[in-house]
Symmetry: C2
Subunit: 337 residues, 2 copies
């Protein structure tokens, strides 16, 4: 049996699986919780409301400029916790691996998971590994679930946007999806773009702690800012109006979008938080975001308008017009996360 | 676009995905927590230690005698919580679906998840759906993560077996793996066997509540009783000795094992708990198990022997000999869970 690749026996509960877990997975993800190797992880009491989430990651390719499926799997899940104002504490990692997957690639992914988990301040509390036959998966799929804790008074919710609130984005939109696209295809444009994949709790923690009147937070992933804003408008029963020239977009993203007819509003991000807060706090919130590593280009990009029974998202375009930002039918590319 | 199958757009964050979630997934899994559709689920405070686990399910075929991937995904995860003496409270469900998967099959799986979750007393708190291209997965893979709560004084652990303790199994071993095998291949033996897939917390709750001196509990899935006992022997530093004639095995399982040279000790179970408890409590524990729907054939099957620096699991065979139950290298069949 080739030690350089993952085989079906590595997922079958015997010595081969033990060796995969002990010699490779725990080599990188070891900590006092997971090392117990019990059927589940018993954790210390939480001081607040538990916040629970899950996400599977099927991104293709597995390695792309600026990140990889391992970092993505950590960030995607901790950001879903952060969006509910929850401090991420624990994650689980579950791997579905295609027979023949290179052990070296698995190790590279484990290193990346560990690094991202450390940056995010979370402990990998439990895991699982399954192996399927060649041709029955695509390299590796990763599920991460997350457990965090929110202050019991937190009322952050997609349904909490109110007329007059300010709409803030924490930085450039579209970098992740265009980085994935460029990793897939040569397009004759050299943008040097990297995925924005990043864990965002430390960026928003000062806003939560200092009470900047946050009403809504959303991690603008699949479907991009456009889909997320439509969901918020519908959940809150309000119109939302954006100002295009205030929305930060990298010039490389603009160039690729121009070439392919993509709209940056619908491109996936993996390191951007959309925040809706009370208007009087918006300046202070943006200043706090700008003080963080991942929030340097934070900006107010619009506002919440009137209550509406037919909620709409609109945008004042750079050309001087106004158009409706419709909910897209699907995204622009499959498997970007 | 064919409404009868899942397409890539159903995983891409727009109206197609909203329709899949609202018209199909929430039709079956709706509850006040998941219906909020926020980035993560904010839950009420837990009264005890949080217990967290994850498992992915890649079983093939998806539907098999007695169960299906939906029920399996719920039971596998709630049983991992139960094995730490934790009451299962919440699960997440994450689907990775192959493009072209029948919507009717997804609905059948959702109905099964809902039924099993209700039986197990857990709420589906959060979910995720990804779709990959045809040929990049195998129908559907499901990850479930679980959150439960354990009494803070609980010391159940694989490392807690002590010399003199009794070894108990809650019923027949091997039914699940042989049911899967029979769903895959015609073998000329009609056993009528069904998977034992079941949620086990309600079976063990009386033992926990009444203080039956439980030291170890393990859900004997991949690798079967043989692998789990070897893990416990190693973690506790003890020898374990089984008595073959006390181990309950269905005659159909015996027949198939005889035909194929399988050993029931290494067959996966999805509704059996291995329990190690103080010897003086063993009779009472078995009686309590027998009083439950899934514990009718519970039996004491062996005992924990001396402390050992080279822990061994042995079995007194029906033929009158004694042999070592070695840790298997892998399981006997791939993709049984």
């Amino acid at each position: 049996m080739d030690k350089n690749v993952i085989t079906l026996a590595h997922g079958m509960g015997g010595t081969k699986m033990q060796s995969l877990i002990n010699d490779l997975i725990l080599k990188h993800l070891s900590n006092p919780v997971i090392d117990r190797l019990e059927d589940s992880a018993v954790l210390p009491r939480l001081k607040g409301s538990p916040v629970f989430t899950t996400d599977s990651f099927v991104v293709s390719p597995l390695f792309f400029p600026g990140s990889d499926i391992g970092r993505l799997a950590v960030c995607g899940t901790v950001n879903d916790l952060a969006a509910m104002a929850a401090k991420p504490l624990y994650i689980t990692t579950a791997f579905i691996i295609e027979e023949g997957f290179l052990t070296a690639d698995l190790e590279r992914i484990l290193v990346s998971i560990k690094k991202a988990a450390d940056e995010a301040g979370v402990i990998v509390a439990a895991g699982d590994t399954k192996v399927v036959e060649r041709g029955k998966a695509d390299g590796i799929f990763i599920n991460t679930s997350g457990l965090g804790v929110a202050p019991e008074k937190s009322r952050v919710s997609s349904s909490a946007a109110r007329p007059g609130n300010a709409v803030i984005i924490s930085g450039n939109i579209g970098d992740h999806e265009i980085a994935i696209l460029q990793a897939r295809e040569k397009m004759g444009i050299e943008t040097g773009l990297k995925s924005d994949c990043a864990p965002l709790y430390s960026m928003i923690e000062p806003l939560i702690r200092r009470g900047t009147g946050i009403r809504v937070m959303r991690d603008a992933t699949r479907g991009g800012l456009g889909a997320v804003l439509n969901e918020i408008a519908a959940a809150s029963g309000v119109n939302i109006r954006l100002n295009q020239e205030d929305i930060p977009v990298d010039k490389g993203v603009k160039a690729v979008c121009g070439l392919l007819g993509f709209d940056p509003l619908f491109l996936a991000n993996e390191g951007k938080m959309l925040i809706i807060c009370e208007a009087k706090e918006a300046k202070r919130a943006v200043k706090l975001l700008k003080g963080s590593k991942y929030g340097k280009k934070a900006a107010v990009i619009g506002k919440v308008e009137a209550k509406s029974s037919k909620p709409l998202v609109t945008i004042d375009t750079e050309a001087g017009g106004e158009r409706i930002v419709f909910m897209p039918e699907g995204g622009q590319l499959p498997r970007i996360c």
